[in-house]
């Protein structure tokens, strides 16, 4: 097979620092985000804040909060004199909800809950077993399996990048799990297997179907997002289950991990009957080690629980373009989670600077700016920790009424899609199309494809073309599959020319499975997980050459102002491939047929052996017998 002959071709070692990544937060970032800001400065580049946290606020607000915090601390020392190291531990919990009206008329709501667990986990031999805000079940998993970083997402539906823009936290359809283990782990595969089993119990999902046949170790696409610069991808495991269906039973355990559960704070909005009545639903858990202060003297585990949902209120609301918290979630907000140090609701009002497009009520004086995914956005902020946010009614029901038609959306700079071509049930071709919509900048992307072994890739047919010219990838990492043991892994660093469409094609042959390897509904087809495109995309802020806005002249001469690029990860559609499917009564038919053939052969053989042959007296012809009959009547001797 050609695929196996080609083997592993490492072209050159990727210097990942070219994918260096910067904090996407604004310079006005508040005190709570300092940790992350510092991380991006501290050591090797990481994809910090690639999820685009947007907790920036204005300066006044920050001052107000920090004094509050000081007061709190003083109270604490007064009441608890000479007491409790437990009180000294700085566990922290934050919650926020971002609502972004999409140009398609849909509403994108993104929840983020962040729990910091102040514990010295990197110290060897110390058993951490006391939990305050951090959920015990996850903490035990971390320490038992020596997990350094864990990212798990469950997604129902497909994120439509071209209509909705980039999500804050991208995730592929189905379940995705990637884990970095500590480099002290000797049996990574064993730990991984047990970990998936335990996680499937915790999240009520079929993660236990993750085994070696769908696990890969990407060499460049998934770098740790937290502290530490692990680069040895032997300690990384990545797997997707595109078939996984996400529903209430996954949401309930996810909510149980929150300190306030669904009893208070933003989590009261998470009602499954509304959340799953949506176009897109994605929930995720990200655990990583982070620094807790600027000098990074103390470390902490960060648990980020995110939930992204897109509501199609336009069609549900009979074409009326208006939404409210109550319409979306059938609940309103009445209080913040008392354990949360910050609890905020952000509404994206970037497209509506003068209120000509829509009307948001209640109005809030608090505005916040943040650079999210390379774009400067403006947000209205509702701080749930303040009593005045809830007004007279003691409840907050955000209401947004559109006045006109939504403006044109900026096309996302990076977009990818994938499909299967070809006919028949023997061979086929996977097409991955990556779009660079930037008018004048070329940038590299890292494409990662994990294809199950039953699609036997012909790697010699791999072609990368952009603008109908051959585009030679500068880095290829290919690991061929082993039948029933591991999938294909293909990673490539491709330079995308500006304003172009790059097509990656590779041919494959469909393998014949053993009859027990088929799923219960084999004619549905077999899923192939999304391919992952990771890239540093030039920022739109930097791209902005529109000088009509009020800007000081000195700032607008050199177009690159702030972060010149931002990290983005794009998932393509999962593929559904038909494999040649046998008739499943075949084994029985074969048994019956063989048995019949054997029985027939045996029967004639037996007959031949046991039959006796005897000389038969030839019987008289009919004419003679008739003649004899007559002769008998007449009394004449008979004929012989």
């Amino acid at each position: 097979m050609a695929a196996h002959r080609c083997g592993l071709s490492l072209v050159f070692i990727l210097i990942f620092s070219s994918l260096a990544c910067h904090s996407s937060c604004d310079s006005l970032e508040n005190a709570n985000e300092d940790t992350e800001e510092k991380q991006s400065v501290s050591d090797t580049p990481r994809e910090v804040n690639s999820d685009g946290s947007i907790a920036a606020e204005d300066l006044n607000e920050r001052r107000g909060r920090s004094t509050d915090a000081e007061l709190d601390r003083r109270d604490g020392t007064r009441t608890s004199e000479a007491l409790t190291p437990a009180a000294a531990a700085r566990d922290e919990f934050q919650e926020e909800l971002v609502i972004r009206p999409l140009h398609s008329g849909d509403i994108y709501a993104s929840f983020q809950f962040r729990t910091l667990w102040d514990t010295d986990f990197l110290q060897e031999g110390q058993k951490v077993s006391h939990y305050r805000l951090f959920p015990k079940s996850l903490g035990q998993v971390l320490s038992k399996f020596s997990v350094r970083e864990l990212h798990i997402s469950f997604t129902q539906g497909f994120w439509r990048t071209m209509q909705w823009g980039q999500p804050f936290i991208p995730s592929p359809p189905g379940a995705e799990l990637w884990v970095w283990f500590h480099d002290t782990v000797s049996d990574v595969d064993g730990n991984w297997k047990e970990l998936t089993n335990v996680l499937s119990g915790i999240f009520c999902a079929s993660l236990n179907f993750i085994d070696l046949t769908n696990t890969v170790q990407p060499s460049a696409s998934f770098k740790p997002l937290g502290l530490g610069n692990a680069t040895d991808h032997r300690f990384l495991r990545y797997a997707t289950l595109p078939r996984e269906i996400v529903c209430t039973e996954n949401l309930t355990p996810w909510k149980k991990l929150l300190p306030c559960g669904s009893k208070a704070g933003l989590a009261v909005l998470l009602k499954s009957e509304k959340l799953f009545h949506s176009s897109f639903h994605s929930q995720a858990v990200h655990i990583r080690p982070v620094c807790q202060d600027e000098q990074c003297t103390s470390k902490a585990w960060e648990l980020r629980q995110t939930l992204n949902v897109v509501f199609d209120l336009y069609t549900a609301g009979q074409g009326k373009k208006e939404w409210s918290l109550f319409k979306m979630f059938s609940r309103t907000l009445t209080e913040a989670c008392p354990l949360a140090t910050s609890s905020k609701v952000y509404v994206d009002i970037t497209d509506n600077p003068e209120g000509e497009l829509f009307e948001l009520s209640p109005a809030t004086p608090l505005l916040s700016q943040a650079v999210v995914l390379g774009d400067r956005r403006t947000y209205s902020v509702f701080d749930l920790t303040r009593a005045e946010t809830f007004g007279q009614l003691r409840s907050l029901n955000l209401l947004l009424r559109w006045k006109g038609d939504g403006g044109e959306m900026l096309r996302p700079l990076l977009h990818a899609e994938r499909y299967v071509a070809g006919f028949g049930l023997q061979t086929g071709e996977i097409h991955t199309v990556i779009y660079n919509n930037h008018p004048y900048r070329a940038f590299p992307v890292l494409l990662m494809d994990s294809v199950p072994w039953y699609l036997q890739l012909y790697i010699h047919t791999l072609t990368v073309t952009s603008k109908s010219r051959d585009n030679k990838p500068s880095y290829i990492h290919y690991q061929p599959a082993k039948d029933r043991h591991r999938p294909h892994l293909l990673e490539m660093l491709i330079q995308l020319p500006p304003h172009s469409m790059t097509e990656v094609t590779v041919q494959f042959e469909r393998a014949l499975l053993k009859w027990t390897e088929y799923t219960p509904d084999p004619n549905h087809g077999f899923y192939v997980g999304s391919s992952v495109v990771s890239a540093l995309v030039p920022s739109m802020v930097a791209m902005n050459t529109n000088f009509t806005q009020d800007q000081p002249l000195f700032s607008s001469f050199v177009p690159v102002k702030e972060e010149s690029s931002y990290f983005v990860r794009v998932y393509t559609e999962p593929l559904l491939v038909n494999l040649p499917t046998p008739d499943f009564s075949m084994p029985y038919n074969v048994i019956c047929l063989t048995c019949t053939v054997v029985a027939v052969g045996y029967g004639s053989f037996y007959n031949l052996l046991t039959r006796t042959f005897q000389v038969d007296e030839p019987s008289l012809p009919l004419a003679k017998r008739l003649a004899n009959l007559i002769r008998r009547i007449r009394g004449v001797p008979l004929l012989t």
Partner: protein, 569 residues
């Protein structure tokens, strides 16, 4: 009419039908042919029976490794013999010089306890070894007991105290009056009753053993109290998870701080260190917010407090348990200890027992599950205090209750000493050496009982269901469990408590591994009708001609014999 032999059947008929001339012809030509066919049929039948059937049997057989069934069936009728080394030390002045001369002397007192008809159990208790040398601080080995006999007139013990049990494995016994004319044997037999009482306090009594065997034996003649004791204690297991949970249903009003790490270090860890030979313990803690009890407490005007009656306590646990979460990292049994701080609107909250009195500790426990304590904080702040109020929990008070509950759960039972006994309080570790011994005794017996039950039921199951594959590793686990069991029983008999416990733990581990091995389930549901549905297309066409021709040969042989008889007649 038709004299030509059409069928083979007519063979024996022709001598009477056909003319004589034909007879000779037929005999020459037909008989060898007939004979050959018959032999061929017989040969094929023989091949099928001798080669085909064993081959089919062998190739479709399930693999079943050899198991020591006979030894397992011996385990079924478990004969346990427990022996305790007892050292009786006579202090100066208790014995006359003549009595001192005759030593050493060993003297065995056997006692039989009939636990159940099916399981006769033999107790040797106590095998007394008299040792006249008096070394006061002899370090006694695990499981043994040293009894110091002091003169009747000694002022070491208060007047009415007959026996004093120390923290270690020692007891002081005030000697009853001896006659100087007695020899040592008589002196010892005179002491028997007292020594036996001491032993049943410090090592084990009948009730303890019965309680330990309660899993195996349906009890009929056991008091309600010891039944409750045995039900309360969590079952023997190689490890336990102890989880302390602080339930804060009202984080808006109370901001609770508890120094659980320090409290575990100072209160729980010494006890667990002491218990290390019994099992591995791991301790963790968590704080749960918005966790509520399952019942609404009732407001009682007479005490102006909320109360939980004893009847409603059984409904308290279930809703909380959903929040507690199971341990993701191990499958050991979990002991839960919950500290519940009632919310501001339901404070103070008191638990009342069946006689409507306030429970002083304000705590209760659920057998084999854990304990719950209600901790009222409403008096720690005034009504105008700014919410949330920072509250530090007094861990000494809490841990005192939890420690007592933990002792109950672990089976460190309250002994009911006979009158005249004084027990010293168990020091800082919370557990005296002899209490540990008591626990070890009952745990070893319980382990042995559990392991032998597991092994016997597994053997029974494997015996009954022939489809189960028995792999070599299962056979190995089973036989190692059996050997460990046998060694444990032998060590108990020899009085080596520490070894007995170790072997019994190994036996339990091996037997559980064998019992829960997933490979046992592979072919469990392989129904026979489906198997035969597959075989029939082959078997039916093959067997029918063989059977028919065999039947024919038999009937021909019968007929020929009948003919021969008719001829000879």
């Amino acid at each position: 009419m038709d004299n030509s032999p059409k069928t083979e059947n007519s063979l024996t008929i022709y001598p009477f039908v056909v003319p004589n001339l034909l007879i000779s012809y037929c005999c020459i030509l037909v008989m060898p042919e007939k004979q050959r066919g018959r032999y061929a049929a017989l040969a094929i039948a023989a091949v099928v029976i001798v080669v085909g059937i064993p081959l089919w049997w062998k190739t479709t057989e399930t693999y079943r490794a050899w198991l020591p069934f006979s030894e397992i069936s011996e385990l079924d009728s478990l004969q346990l013999q427990l022996s305790v080394d007892i050292e009786v030390v006579f202090s100066r002045g208790t014995l006359t010089p003549e009595q001192q001369k005759k030593f050493p002397l060993s003297h065995v007192n056997e006692k039989e306890h009939q636990v159940d008809v099916s399981i006769p159990e033999l107790l040797t208790s106590p095998s007394t070894e008299a040792d006249l040398s008096l070394h006061m601080l002899s370090e006694s080995s695990c499981g043994s007991v040293v009894v110091y006999v002091i003169p009747e007139s000694s002022t070491l013990l208060p007047e009415d105290v007959k026996v004093y049990v120390g923290q270690r494995r020692t007891a002081l016994l005030r000697s009853p009056p001896f006659k100087t004319s007695w020899n040592l044997k008589e002196v010892l037999s005179n002491l028997d009753v007292e020594v036996e009482q001491v032993v049943s306090t410090m090592s084990f009594g009948h009730q303890d053993i019965v309680a330990a065997l309660s899993n195996r034996v349906r009890m009929t003649k056991v008091t309600k109290e010891s039944m409750a004791d045995s039900m309360r204690a969590i079952k023997s297991s190689p490890g336990y998870e102890i989880t302390f949970s602080l339930l804060n249903p009202d984080p808006k009003s109370h901001s609770l701080h508890w120094d659980i790490e320090g409290a575990v270090q100072s209160y729980i860890q010494p006890l667990l260190n002491k218990l290390a030979p019994i099992a591995n313990f791991s301790v963790d803690s968590q704080i749960l917010y918005y966790a509520v009890l399952g019942v609404n407490p009732r407001f009682d005007n007479s005490v102006s407090a909320y109360t939980l009656s004893a009847d409603s306590l059984s409904h308290v646990i279930n809703p909380v348990e959903a929040r507690l979460g199971s341990n993701a990292a191990s499958s050991n049994p979990v002991l839960n200890f919950l500290l519940y701080v009632p919310d501001a609107h339901h404070s103070p909250l008191f638990i009342r027992d069946h006689s409507k009195r306030k429970v002083p500790s304000n705590a209760f426990h659920s057998p084999r599950w854990g304990g719950i304590m209600v901790y009222n904080v409403n008096e720690m702040y005034g009504p105008e205090a700014e919410r949330p109020v920072d509250i530090n929990i007094n861990m000494a008070k809490v841990m005192g209750v939890f420690l007592a509950q933990l002792r109950l759960m672990l089976g460190v039972q309250h002994t009911h000493p006979p009158t005249g006994f004084v027990l010293q309080s168990p020091g800082s570790a919370g557990l005296a050496d002899w209490e540990l011994d008591r626990l070890l005794w009952s745990r070893s017996v319980e382990n042995i009982a559990t392991a032998s039950t597991t092994i016997t039921s597994l053997a029974q199951l494997l015996d009954q269901i022939g489809n189960i594959v028995i792999n070599d590793n299962i056979a190995q686990q089973v036989s190692s469990a059996v050997t460990s069991l046998q060694s444990a029983v032998a060590e108990l008999e020899a009085g080596n408590l520490a070894f007995a416990l170790q072997y019994s733990r190994e036996a339990i581990l091996a037997s559980e591994r064998a019992f829960f091995d997933p490979s046992l389930l592979h072919l469990l549901y392989f129904p026979d009708d489906q198997k035969f549905a597959i075989y029939i297309p082959l078997f039916l066409p093959m067997c029918v001609p063989i059977v028919l021709s065999l039947l024919k040969i038999v009937s021909e042989a019968k007929k020929r014999r009948a003919d021969k008889q008719a001829k000879s007649d």
